[in-house]
């Protein structure tokens, strides 16, 4: 499903030259249908690792394969197809400010060319489930932080992705909502979606024990690596 082999990442620095490496020699695998926590202190590279997994960045070295596709060899068109099968909950939500909650959630389905009738049913159901059915027409600026986060979550899961990535998805949610979210992630995981959640929320991790990828200063913390992470 997800396979990293000696992957390094450096962002372009000044003058288009490669900057310092932020991720070094990452080698691990996430089997299909698995659930993984992604843990580590701020600045450890969790967001960069997720960026590689949702194809916002490409490895500067090593091999990365996602959904059984080698990223290095994939065409641009193939990457478009992959992105449609990956749902992402961003730390800063990344909602489109000029669109209503409904249109934001409907966006992935519209980009995938689904018929409008099916979109209406799916988005309505999803907004009901996230408790936003009264805020359908509200724009992100009119929503609270928690509501925006729920819109972002709804947008990430509306297309029933094969791989679901979340970056601090509970940051703006209270404990009840965070539990509801974990319920949703658990449900999707049971239905076959591979889930990777980056978080600082230790209580959440304690309540939902699962194998974890621990990052420290851009490296996987091998000493605390769970055994089943080693086989790719």
């Amino acid at each position: 499903m997800v396979r990293f082999e000696s992957v390094g990442l450096s962002y372009a620095g000044a003058g288009g030259r490669a900057g310092p490496e932020v991720l070094h020699d990452l080698s691990f695998g996430v089997p299909p249908g698995a659930f993984r926590w992604l843990l580590g202190p701020s600045g450890a590279g969790k967001t960069s690792l997720l960026r590689l997994m949702y194809l916002a960045a490409r490895p500067s070295r090593g091999r990365l394969s996602l959904l059984d596709t080698d990223i290095e060899l994939a065409s641009r068109r193939a990457l478009v197809g992959l992105r449609r099968r990956i749902g992402v909950v961003f730390q800063d939500f990344r909602l489109l400010a000029h669109l209503s909650a409904y249109d934001n959630v409907a966006l992935p389905l519209r980009l995938a060319g689904r018929p409008e009738g099916q979109i209406r049913a799916d988005v309505g159901e999803m907004l009901r489930w996230t408790g936003l059915s009264r805020r359908v027409d509200a724009r992100p600026a009119e929503l609270s932080g928690g509501e925006q986060q729920r819109v972002a979550i709804a947008r990430a899961v509306i297309g029933r992705p094969a791989l679901l990535l979340a970056d601090e998805p509970t940051g703006n949610l209270d404990d009840v909502q965070a539990e509801r979210l974990m319920l949703l992630f658990g449900e999707m995981n049971r239905l076959g979606t591979t889930v990777v959640v980056a978080t600082h929320n230790d209580r959440l991790v304690a309540r939902h024990p699962a194998p974890a990828l621990r990052l420290d200063a851009g490296r996987l913390d091998a000493g605390r690596l769970d055994a089943d992470l080693l086989e790719p």
Binding site: R58, R76, R83, R94, L96, H98, R110, L111, E116, G117
Partner: protein, 298 residues
């Protein structure tokens, strides 16, 4: 499949292009350029007609005027002598009707029986453009005193060359205008890309293809450019009609015909090409600009 309604509700503007690609500035600029392009087209069509007209005159090369043509059948004798001379490919007397047409711009069309005594006119085509026309003039003067030989071919060909150069200038002006239009649309598109960068990255991340994003931009610029050019072309039409009116006598057509008739038919067909060309430039420029820009995204 029957339930497969429209894929995207009309007016769904996920990239926020209605604000990012300003709805007034771009059409205004394109309208101004279309106005200039309409004038350029008129210049091109007009100078082409003049060049053609004068070119036909230049082919005659030599005009011989015989005063009092009927007296002693002077015209016939002059014509016979010219035809017998070496280096002449063709010589023929103009009929009174042709003469009237020639003088129409100055004397009007309703002068069937002019008050002035008109000379007989012989149009002569030379086989050898370099032949000594002075010698011919002296011989003609001898048999019919007062006969004038006018070699206007040089001047008319110079005028025709001038008209052709003007036509080329109009063509170059049109090409330059098209290039400026493309540049303006590229700048507007880039400004739109910069303004909507975040939205584009989000939509790209959600699985929008390059073609989809470029298509959204191109649809917007195509519509704005076509609208602008339509306005510009319509605004230029009255000016063109006035110009055509003024130019009509030089092209040998009768002045004062009905208003719409005065625009050359070629121009009537080319004016609708302005919005179409602007639309094409808008589409191609936006597609190329956006696709190139998107290459920076992984």
């Amino acid at each position: 499949m029957a339930r497969r309604v429209s894929l995207r509700p009309a007016g769904f503007d996920e990239l926020g292009l209605r604000r990012a690609l300003a709805g007034r500035m771009l059409p205004f600029l394109v309208a101004a350029m279309a106005f200039l392009a309409a004038l350029g087209l008129a210049g091109w069509v007009g100078t082409a007609a003049l060049a053609h007209h004068w070119q036909m005159g230049a082919a005659a090369a030599l005009t011989v005027q015989v005063p009092r043509p009927t007296e002693d059948s002077r015209l016939d004798r002059v014509l016979a002598l010219i035809q017998a001379s070496p280096g002449i490919s063709e010589a023929r007397a103009l009929s009174p009707k042709e003469l009237a047409a020639l003088l129409a711009p100055w004397l009007g069309t309703d002068t069937d029986t002019p008050a002035l005594p008109l000379p007989g006119v012989i149009a002569v085509h030379l086989a050898d453009p370099g032949m000594d026309t002075d010698a011919l003039a002296r011989r003609l003067e001898a048999i019919a005193p007062g006969t004038l030989v006018e070699s206007h071919g040089v001047w008319v060909s110079r005028l025709a060359a001038l008209a052709r150069s003007l036509q080329a200038c109009a063509g170059v002006a049109l090409v330059v205008l098209a290039a400026i239009a493309a540049a303006v649309i590229a700048v507007a598109t880039r400004a739109g890309l910069a303004a909507r960068r975040e939205a584009i990255e989000i939509v790209h991340g959600l699985g929008a293809s390059d073609g989809y994003i470029a298509g959204r931009f191109a649809a917007r610029t195509t519509a704005l450019a076509a609208t602008g050019a339509l306005v510009g072309a319509v605004a230029a039409t009255p000016a063109l009609i006035v110009l055509a009116h003024l130019a009509a006598p030089f092209a040998g057509s009768a002045a004062g015909a009905d208003t719409f008739g005065t625009l050359p038919p070629g121009l009537w067909m080319l004016l609708p090409a302005l919005p179409l060309s602007a639309a094409a430039i808008g589409f191609v420029t936006a597609q190329a600009t956006v696709r190139r820009w998107l290459r920076r995204l992984p």
